[in-house]
């Protein structure tokens, strides 16, 4: 499996990782909407309702709408989810600074819920099978 689909597989577990984390869901209670996570060429569409992850779908998509997108190298996502990530890969904003990720679209809902979104995207940390070196 190439790295993009491996990242998508990890992201598919977001509902289990997020929805049982009551403080995290509470922090996202004012956010409902769709965003896109991209790993290399693989797009993953995430739908949130009041802090709960309602759906995670892997593309390609036709005419799929989203409010904002977080695009990164698939290898950067895998490094982001290592138990102790290396400097620059430990935070989504750090990844943008490093040049391995970028934020696009309507950034207002992202910035208004930045802690929540960052914690959702970091939720697979330590749970990512692809980060553990498995083939």
């Amino acid at each position: 499996m190439t790295m993009g689909p491996r990242v998508a597989e990890t992201l598919s577990r977001l509902p289990a990782l997020v929805n049982h984390d009551a403080p995290l869901v509470r922090r996202g209670r004012f956010f409902s909407g769709d965003f896109l996570v991209e790993a290399d060429q693989t797009p993953v569409h995430v739908r949130v309702h009041e802090g709960r992850i309602e759906a995670v779908e892997t593309g390609p998509f036709r005419m799929r709408a989203w409010r904002f997108a977080i695009r990164a190298d698939a290898s950067a996502w895998i490094r982001h989810w290592e138990p102790i990530p290396a400097p620059g890969y430990h935070d989504v904003i750090a990844m943008t600074r490093l040049g391995v990720a970028r934020l696009e679209g309507d950034l207002q809902p992202l910035m208004a819920n930045l802690r929540y979104i960052k914690e959702v995207l970091a939720a697979p940390r330590g749970h990512d099978r692809s980060a553990g070196g498995e083939a």
């Binding site: 600074r97 950034l107 802690r115």
Partner: protein
């Protein structure tokens, strides 16, 4: 049982800064060589509370930290409600020297972090005779802009929440949870537009690449300490800066981020105490 107070005492004084009365909060602990401490952008002097309760420091140093106007327990000057706050090199320098003068400090040592580290370079270049030693933590001569600071102060994004979320990754993953969140609490508490106004100095008014060649470390020694997880002032930024200053010593701190004194005080003292030891050796 009697209450156990910490050895830190805080007082208020009104100083004239930029021609205006500014009520400042100043706290201190310890005795000995004065060590003036400068907090980061968008936070306040509480970042130095661990230095002020460490006998290895306070047995030899009078540790003093103050909140800049608009920060912490210092109030903004009268009329602030109609102004956009902007820190500049001139107003920052004036505040630091005014506090040192008001307290009648005799050539204090000074430690500043982030924007406090940036002003260290200006002080080293133009006011070296006022200080016996300078320590720039997370210090570099300039920074290329890496995000749009207008997000930090607008009506449809909570300022405290977004300021903390923007800097949360600047805390190293290894830092204890308690101190990570105490550090971020400082950012959550910052007044509207204050972090953004500090970053005006940091981003727009402090490209010091022109004055690092003026720094003479034989007049005032200079240390630069930067955390390996700092992606704002990166280790490369600090090493480049140090390479341009004869005699400057740079150390990259393992498992540290942008707020060493508050995010991981136990780790920071491993790096800071040897520097303070050398300052004492020069002084004695």
């Amino acid at each position: 049982m009697a209450i156990e107070f910490e050895p830190i005492t805080g007082r208020y004084a009104t100083l004239t800064l930029d021609g205006r009365a500014c009520r400042l909060f100043i706290e201190e602990a310890g005795q000995g060589i004065p060590l003036l401490c400068l907090h980061t952008a968008g936070s306040d002097s509480r970042q130095y509370r661990h230095l002020m309760t460490d006998p290895a420091v306070t047995d030899h140093f009078r540790v003093i930290a103050f909140d800049l106007p608009w920060h912490g327990k210092s109030t903004p000057p009268a009329g602030f409600h109609d102004e956009e706050y902007r820190l500049t090199t001139a107003t920052y320098t004036e505040a630091v020297l005014a506090v040192a003068d008001a307290l009648e400090l005799e050539r204090p040592a000074l430690i500043g972090c982030s924007m406090g580290g940036r002003i260290v370079l200006h002080l080293a270049a133009h006011h070296a005779d006022r200080f016996r030693a300078l320590i720039g933590v997370e210090c570099a001569d300039h920074q290329t802009s890496w995000y749009d600071t207008t997000w930090l102060h607008r009506s449809d994004v909570h300022g405290g929440e977004v300021c903390a979320a923007m800097v949360s990754g600047l805390v190293a993953p290894q830092s204890p949870e308690e101190y990570r969140w105490e550090t971020l609490w400082g950012y959550m508490q910052s007044g509207p537009g204050v972090f953004k106004g500090d970053l005006y100095f940091y981003r727009e008014d402090s490209d010091f690449r022109d004055r690092t060649p003026l720094i003479d470390t034989s007049r005032c020694p200079l240390w630069l300490l930067t955390g390996e997880y700092d992606y704002s002032c990166t280790p490369e930024d600090t090493e480049r800066t140090a390479a341009g200053i004869v005699g400057a010593e740079a150390v990259i701190m393992k498992e540290q981020g942008h707020f060493p004194m508050s995010e991981n005080p136990a780790k920071f003292r491993e790096y800071l105490l040897p520097v303070l030891e050398r300052i004492r050796a020069v002084t004695d």
